[in-house]
Structure formats: structure tokens, C-alpha cells
């Protein structure tokens, strides 16, 4: 699994520009699934036939990560950028950023900006060019970049990286798709696009699948130092069974079933109530005539920063819980 995570994590995949990662995922899945398709928006939909074809299960993990888009190239060769998704400007500045073609730059802040005044409108990218003509040879308006890949083992079970949100869950979904026994229901593993800009990819893909049961896989913030919002999720505390976030109230039947499966299979779990932030869960829940929708969340520290931190035991718990549902259903 860790190799899968590393592979997905190193692919370029800013919201709206997920082709590199989606082609990696498609080639991984191609021979192992009954059907793999890519829709108009770029969602990858992988189908695995189940024992009971009267019901459909949809599993969604998003391929995209937050990043920046070049809006203007100034006379002095600096690139003005706008955020794609929920950028934390303080966390992103003074890091290396990489464009899809490998061009690198650094994300910096306008001179003389106080820490408290750092905002997305004060950010720009320096690609080492003194004039706009030189910069335009490297980059054009509309090109997108993200913080450069970075993967660090902090201790035997803890890893820090950018974009664990949500590559790690792509890896969990793919791993489950490869390794699970025959699913209980016809199962669609969907790798969605554009979640970070408003769960956009999950809408048409849910419409196409029209699931009866739906499970989103995403990260959830786990507090480290200080806990102003009094969140209960703990890093290393096991798979987080989502009860609510700002986009969805999970179907109680799913919460109940996840709990049963975790208890029966000795899987470490905890409950999650997230105050801010949405997931693909809601799009699946309200698609067509609606579905029973839940979410298995991976506790993650420092979400939307270049150093998102996770615990290997939690990954294992999430994968086990997902596998249990896929194989045993309701």
C-alpha cells in the first residue's frame, strides 16, 4: 500500500487538471476490474461485479489537490496566481511549486507584507526570470502548479506529505478494489475530479452510477497542538466514521453498519463530527432518488498544508473497514 500511496502522491493532479494521476490509476485498474471508464469531466469509474446485482455500491475518493493557477505574467517576470481550492496562504508560501511539465518555481509573498496580512492576493510565483518574455517561455496564463511532492517518514508509523488529501484514499480505494473478495453488490470505485473546488466531479459521476449505497473516502482534520474547535478525532485513533460535516448528515444506517463491522472484525474506529468542510458524500447521497451514504475518514494533521501527517495504523483500519463493507454489504 505504501508504494501505491507514494506513486499516487507524486503524480500531478491539481483540480481540473487530473489527467496524469487518472492515467496512472486507469492503468493500475485496467486488467483487474470488469470495466473502467473515464467520463466527460475526467472522473474514473471502475466497475466490479458483485454477488447481488440488484443493488449498487459507489465508493468515491478524489484525485485532485489544491493548487494555483497563473492569471498574469508581469513585466518583471513574476507570475500572479489565484488559488484553486481552499488554500492556506501562510502554509503555502516560501515553498517550491511545480508545474505539470516539471517547471519549478517558488511561491512567495509581496515584499513588506506582515505575517498577519499574508493573503492569496499577495502571493506570486518566482520562476527565476527577470522579464515577462523569459517567463513566457516557461509558463503561460492558465498553467497550474502545486507544492512540489514531498514525502517524509517521521517515525515508524507516521508520515508527512503534501496532498495525502486525498491521494491516500485513492490508494485505499484502489488497494481494496484489487484485494477484496467478490463484492456483495455491483460496486463502482470512482476516482473523482474537482472535489476541492466544490465536489464538482462527484455530481455527474453519482448521476451516472445512481448508487443505492455510497461511501466517500476522505481525510478529516486531527488536532495536534491546540484544538480550538474541540474536535474529537485523534491521529492513530483508527478509522473515523463520519456522522456529519458541513455538506452532509450521513445516513444513520451506514454509521450503524460501519460500527457493527468494525466491532465484529476488531477494527479500530472512532466517530467524526466535522464542523467545516464538505466531502463527495453529499453529492452521492442526493443523486437521483438518493442513496444511503456514509464516509470513512482518515485522521490527518495539518490538512491543506505541504506537511499533512497521517498514521499507518489508521490507513490499515480504513482499508479494513472499507473491505468489510464491500464484501459483506448491509
Amino acid at each position: 500500500m505504501i508504494n501505491l500511496i507514494k506513486k499516487y502522491q507524486s503524480s500531478f493532479s491539481v483540480s481540473g487538471f487530473e489527467e496524469s494521476l487518472s492515467s496512472v490509476i486507469v492503468s493500475d485498474l485496467a486488467n483487474k476490474m470488469d470495466l473502467v471508464e473515464t467520463d466527460a469531466m475526467g472522473n474514473v469509474i471502475a466497475f466490479k461485479k458483485g454477488k447481488d446485482s440488484s443493488k449498487k455500491l459507489m465508493i468515491a475518493a478524489h484525485m485532485d489537490e489544491i493548487g494555483f493557477i497563473v492569471t498574469n505574467i508581469e513585466e518583471n517576470g513574476m507570475l500572479r496566481v489565484a488559488p484553486i481550492g481552499g488554500i492556506n496562504p501562510v502554509a503555502s508560501c516560501y515553498h517550491e511549486v511545480k508545474f505539470k511539465d516539471g517547471t519549478t518555481g517558488i511561491l512567495v509573498v509581496e515584499d513588506g507584507t506582515k505575517l498577519s496580512e499574508v493573503s492569496n492576493t499577495k502571493l506570486f510565483v518566482d520562476v527565476g526570470c527577470d522579464t515577462s518574455a523569459k517567463a513566457k517561455r516557461k509558463v503561460k496564463i492558465g498553467d497550474v502548479c502545486a507544492v512540489s511532492p514531498y514525502f517524509k517518514k517521521l517515525s515508524p508509523k507516521r508520515y508527512a506529505s503534501k496532498a495525502f488529501d486525498d491521494r491516500i484514499c485513492c490508494a485505499i480505494a484502489a488497494f481494496t478494489a484489487f484485494n477484496c473478495k467478490t463484492p456483495a453488490y455491483d460496486t463502482y470505485f470512482v476516482f473523482t475530479v474537482q472535489e476541492e473546488v466544490g465536489c464538482r466531479g462527484a455530481k455527474p459521476s453519482s448521476f451516472a452510477v445512481m448508487p443505492d449505497y455510497a461511501i466517500a473516502l476522505d481525510v478529516t482534520p486531527a488536532p495536534a497542538c491546540g484544538n480550538p474547535n474541540h474536535l474529537s478525532v485523534k491521529l492513530g485513533g483508527g478509522a473515523a466514521i463520519k456522522i456529519k460535516d458541513s455538506s452532509v448528515i450521513c445516513s444513520p444506517k451506514m454509521v450503524e453498519r460501519f460500527t457493527e463491522l468494525a466491532e465484529a472484525n476488531n477494527i479500530k474506529y472512532q466517530y467524526e463530527v466535522l464542523l467545516a468542510g464538505g466531502t463527495d458524500t453529499s453529492a452521492m447521497q442526493i443523486a437521483g432518488a438518493g442513496s444511503y451514504a456514509g464516509c470513512i475518514s482518515l485522521p490527518t494533521r495539518y490538512v491543506h498544508t505541504p506537511v499533512e501527517t497521517i498514521d499507518a495504523d489508521d490507513i490499515k483500519a480504513c482499508a479494513e473497514l472499507l473491505t468489510a463493507f464491500v464484501e459483506q454489504g448491509m
Binding site: 466527460a40 498574469n72 484553486i84 464538482r200 466531479g201
Partner: protein, 339 residues
């Protein structure tokens, strides 16, 4: 195309009341050999056969509605309290001439004369909740003979050419798009094509949502007005696009990250045909493309826009050359098979 533009711009058609616009468009396309229908929410959906079929269902879209005002209360003095329909900056409202759609009654939006303003009110714009529409009635009873709660008004028709090849008018957003689509429908097409003239874009792209589910297109190209920032006080890095500089291609706005293949195809096509074009260089605004991209099973979407100054005011300003560029680019793209 200028005849069409003037005709469409001068029609009164705020969101939810697009009937007159739709009737005028039907009149202009009905002898072109196309099939058309009006759906439950008032969208006009047109199918025109071309010389060939393509595997992909391609739809061009523009919206018929414009921003406007709705009466919510008529007071004892005969003044009508109102709210805006769609996003209108209250600073461009005060003192404007307006016309009611139902009755054709003319009115003026209040603006307290500077002579009556105490010092603390000067230079400030009151919220819309403190403005009212004056239709020249002396009391509630008289006013109620002409207008009722729920009636809608728009800026008074004022289409005019001015300056060097420019037009100033209300509702150029998006009647110019309607005019461009009508011109396409009335020409010989290479491929079978769908066209949608939509309702209620200004209040949340409601019409497009319906069309998206009904037609389920594979590719959608929206023709829209977009904010031109070539005005005083906007730095070049934030100007979005400029009037006279050609058709605008958006890469990303608040509602959509546009399909890259379509964007590249548009750029190639524009360059091949020497059509003037520009990128929109800020991430702002949004249009129907977003509704199509995520409606039903989803679609690949592109927006071709005309740079428009003072959008959503009584005087949108647009260059005729830009409208021609948007039309040429849309028509040229429609000669592609999209394989």
C-alpha cells in the same frame, strides 16, 4: 447582426419573464428549417440539422434573461418598494429610468437630491431596501391600477451605437449571445447542432440545469458577456479582459474549470482563422457552463465571451468587433467534428 442586437436588447425580459425574448427569437429562426421546442421552464431548445452527423452531441448556449427589479410592496404614497432580480450593484440603480414588463409603465428609481441630504448621507449610496420606484402615481390606489406586487421592471431600452465601433445598451448581457446563436441557426451548418436559449441565468443558471438533463449534451459552448476591466483604477494584472481585444476564453472562473482540450481547440481554431482572442486573466464570475459541466452525467464545457464594460448596469458597453469575433469563433468551432 446589428439589427438583431438592437431588436433583442430593446426587449424587456428579466429572469422569469423571458417570453417576449423567446417569441422574437422564434420569429427569427422558424423559417431556417430547424426544429424547436419550449420546455416547462421557458427555455427554447433548437435542433438544426447539418450536412453530417457527429458522434458527440454538441450544444451552444446563451441566456435570454437580464437583470431587473421586482415590486414587493406599494406604499400609501404610491411608491413601489422593490428588490433586485439578479446581481445588481445598488450604486448603478439610483436615479435610473425603468420600464415595467407587464404593463409597459415607465418609472424612475428614487434618488434623493443632494439638496435634501444631510451631511452624513452625502457621497453614500443607500441600500436597495431604502430605494423605491416612482411611477408618477399619487397614492396606492392609483399606483395599483398600473402595477402590482410581483411585477417586474428592467432598465429602460436604450440601445445605441457610439464611439469607435461600440454599443451601449441594457441587456447586451446576454442578448448578444442570443443574436449570435440566431445567426448560426440561420446559416448552413456542417454538423447537426443543438442550441439553447435559456431562462433565469442571472438568478442561478436555473434554465441551463433543466436543458442539461433534457438534452444530456457531450460538449457545451456557452456564449456570454464577461466583465471587462479596462477601466480607470483597475491594474493590468487584474483587468480580466479588454474591450476591442477579441473573443474571451476563460480558463477558470468561480463556477468552472474549463475543459482543456476544448480550450486548446478554441485557441488553435482562432489562430488558424485569424480571429482575435484573449484570455480572461482573473478568476472571477461564472456562467451557465458550470451547470452543464455538472448536470446529469456531465459535459465538456467551454465559454466564449464578449468583453463587456459596466456589466449589469443600464449601459453595458461592448465592441461590435468583439461580438463578430465571438460569433466567428463559435461558428468555426462548430465546423469541427470534436472527435
Amino acid at each position: 447582426m446589428k439589427d438583431l442586437l438592437k431588436k433583442y436588447c430593446d426587449i424587456l425580459g428579466p429572469s422569469g419573464m423571458e417570453d417576449s425574448v423567446r417569441e422574437a427569437i422564434i420569429e427569427d429562426i422558424k423559417s431556417s428549417g430547424c426544429e424547436y421546442e419550449t420546455d416547462f421552464v421557458g427555455n427554447l431548445i433548437v435542433f438544426k440539422k447539418g450536412k453530417k452527423r457527429r458522434n458527440k452531441k454538441v450544444l451552444f448556449s446563451a441566456h435570454m434573461d437580464e437583470v431587473g427589479f421586482m415590486v414587493k410592496y406599494i406604499d400609501e404614497d404610491g411608491y413601489a418598494r422593490f428588490d433586485s432580480v439578479g446581481g445588481i450593484d445598488r450604486r448603478v440603480v439610483s436615479g435610473k429610468r425603468i420600464r415595467f414588463c407587464e404593463s409597459g409603465v415607465n418609472g424612475v428609481i428614487s434618488s434623493k437630491a443632494i439638496h435634501l441630504q444631510p451631511m452624513e448621507e452625502r457621497g453614500k449610496c443607500p441600500p436597495i431596501s431604502e430605494m423605491y420606484i416612482d411611477i408618477g402615481a399619487s397614492d396606492r390606489k392609483t399606483a395599483s391600477e398600473y402595477i402590482a406586487v410581483g411585477d417586474c421592471a428592467v432598465f429602460e431600452p436604450n440601445y445605441e451605437e457610439f464611439g469607435e465601433g461600440l454599443i451601449r445598451s441594457k441587456a447586451l448581457d446576454d442578448r448578444f449571445g442570443c443574436a449570435a446563436l440566431v445567426k448560426m441557426i440561420n446559416s448552413d451548418l456542417e454538423y447537426d447542432t443543438y442550441f439553447a436559449f435559456n431562462t433565469c441565468e442571472e438568478i442561478g443558471c436555473d434554465g441551463a440545469k433543466e436543458v442539461s438533463h433534457r438534452i444530456q449534451p457531450d460538449i457545451v459552448i456557452a456564449l456570454e458577456s464577461t466583465t471587462a476591466g479596462d477601466i480607470l483604477g483597475v491594474p493590468k494584472s487584474k483587468c480580466a479582459c479588454a474591450v476591442g481585444q477579441g473573443a474571451v476564453l476563460s480558463i477558470m472562473d468561480r463556477s468552472t474549470i474549463y475543459n482543456k482540450e476544448l480550450l486548446e481547440l478554441a485557441v488553435t481554431t482562432a489562430n488558424e482563422k485569424s480571429i482575435k482572442w484573449q484570455y480572461k486573466n482573473v478568476v472571477a464570475g461564472g456562467n451557465e457552463a458550470g451547470a452543464y459541466q455538472r448536470g446529469a452525467k456531465g459535459a465538456k464545457v467551454l465559454a466564449i465571451s464578449a468583453p463587456t464594460r459596466y456589466i449589469h448596469s443600464a449601459s453595458n458597453v461592448l465592441a461590435i468587433s468583439d461580438i463578430e469575433a465571438v460569433y466567428s469563433l463559435a461558428a468555426s468551432l462548430n465546423e469541427r467534428s470534436f472527435e
